[in-house]
Amino acid sequence: MEIAFYLSGLVAVLATLGVITNTNPVHALLYLIVSLIAVALVFFALGAPFAGALEVIVYAGAIMVLFVFVVMMLNLGREGVDQERAWLRPQVWLGPAVLSAVLLVTLIATLWSGDGGRMIAGEMLTAKAVGTLLFGPWLVVVELAAMLLLAALVTASHVGRLPGPTSPKGRRDAGARKEVS
């Protein structure tokens, strides 16, 4: 399982680099999808197949579809690629890259010197175990997240609703349409 963990971790890192360096927005999003699937495989390798499956279903299968959908609609074409290329000049990314590299070295050094923690043992966490954990000790957090999502749902449905026939905006739209026709 350790080999699978390191391989998929490597794929995740390389794919994420691909997201940043690719100049075509849709291709960059594809790299992001590969990266998310690689993270899902990391979960599988760590013995959490439930989390891995959810990662693919929710992130790669639903959220990223919406990202690709929106980028497709933008119709970026050649100009988008040129703009991305202009933003990717070394003087733009060199400074932040050096600073993050320093942070990365610090992180690796800390991990190296400290406690090794638990090793990848290959034990499996079943869906039932995740469920009892979520609705046992973490019940309040789950319910709070549910309320947050409900609020988001109500807001989205309010923002996206069609203007009713009585609202002033709707009437103006109808009038404008009549003038055109």
């Binding site: 291709h27 693919v56 959908f69 497709m72």
Partner: protein
């Protein structure tokens, strides 16, 4: 130490089973293309393809030769890598889903305890085939088809997962074999009737079959997302649709109709009979149903099916808790 050892024999048998299932599914998908046209002809009072071979039985061979020898054309305005990748995703994600289908007690590729979630994950990945195929074609009809397909599939996948959760709650597992075994007394179609109905609707919508074939509506979109595809790349989308039909049928049989269980006949025959019945149902729906308007499809999914699955799940949970308090 005796050679070949038991372990080697077991793993070779498992591999052979996997290959047989894979090839069998693809062949079944190809055969279904002809079967569907014959059946549509029968139901619509016309002949259908009946010229090649006795009763048109060799039509498949003719189609295969034709599709293999067509020019494999990639439009110059297309996004090449994505254009090639899209049909691969279409075929591969559907074929991979068959890993979790238990055919008989002895037949099946793998037996995971997250089985059902794996299917939902692959169904999520499958959306990209249409999305990328439509976008990379650089054609406005293809883009419109891809738009419709992705919005429709996303909407229907939401309650497809929810419609199956009633079954999961009753069986107490995501494992497909255990779900089949939990149905020995009573098929889940009886207590989970609404789950079955909504899953059937979602399954038809996710495979873009009529009456949910707005993404490829010939009359409006000139075939939608695969309008620029030719030769075997088109073939992969085409066969992929039928492989999707087989997948949804086998899933319905496994989850709601007791899988291989049945009296008198051997398990494989029961499984084949039940799957065949649902394949014919898919075709009959196409022959019988008109295509609704696109916004009607979307509001039907969100305003009718989603609340129905939620109520179904709520009632199922309540009944389970009342019957068997913790």
């Amino acid at each position: 130490m005796n050679w070949p050892s038991e372990q080697l024999v077991a793993s070779l048998t498992a591999m052979l089973q996997g290959v047989v299932i894979l090839v069998g599914v693809v062949l079944l998908g190809a055969v279904l293309t002809v079967v569907e046209r014959r059946l549509l002809g029968l139901w619509q009072d016309r002949y259908g393809p009946n010229r090649v071979g006795p009763f048109g039985s060799l039509q498949l061979v003719a189609d295969l030769i034709k599709i293999l020898f067509k020019e494999d054309w990639i439009p110059p305005f297309a996004d090449r890598p994505l254009f090639v990748l899209a049909p691969v995703i279409a075929m591969a994600s559907l074929l991979l889903s068959f890993i979790i289908i238990p055919i008989t007690p002895g037949w099946g590729v793998s037996d995971w305890h997250i089985g059902l979630l794996f299917f939902l994950a692959m169904a999520g990945i499958n959306v990209y085939s249409v999305l990328l195929g439509g976008w990379s074609s650089g054609n406005k009809y293809a883009l419109l088809g891809a738009m419709r397909a992705s919005a429709q599939t996303l909407s229907y996948e939401v309650f497809m997962g929810l419609s199956l959760m009633g079954v999961v709650a009753m069986a107490g597992t995501f494992n497909m074999r255990e779900i089949v075994d939990a149905q020995q007394g009573l098929w889940f179609v009886v207590p989970q009737f609404f789950g079955f109905v909504t899953f059937l609707v979602a399954g038809i919508a996710v495979t873009h079959r009529a009456p949910f074939d707005q993404p490829e509506a010939e009359q409006e979109l000139a075939d939608g997302y695969h309008v620029e595809y030719s030769s075997m790349k088109f073939g992969m989308f085409f066969i992929g649709e039928y492989v999707g039909m087989v997948l949804i049928s086998t899933l319905i049989v496994t989850l709601f109709f007791g899988g291989w269980h049945g009296p008198w006949l051997p398990p494989i025959v029961w499984f084949a009979l039940k799957t065949g019945a649902f394949l014919v149902l898919f075709m009959l729906l196409r022959a019988a149903m008109p295509r609704p308007r696109y916004d009607q499809v979307m509001s039907f999914g969100w305003k009718f099916c989603l609340p129905l699955t939620l109520i179904n799940l709520l009632v199922t949970g309540a009944v389970i808790l009342i019957a068997d308090p913790l």
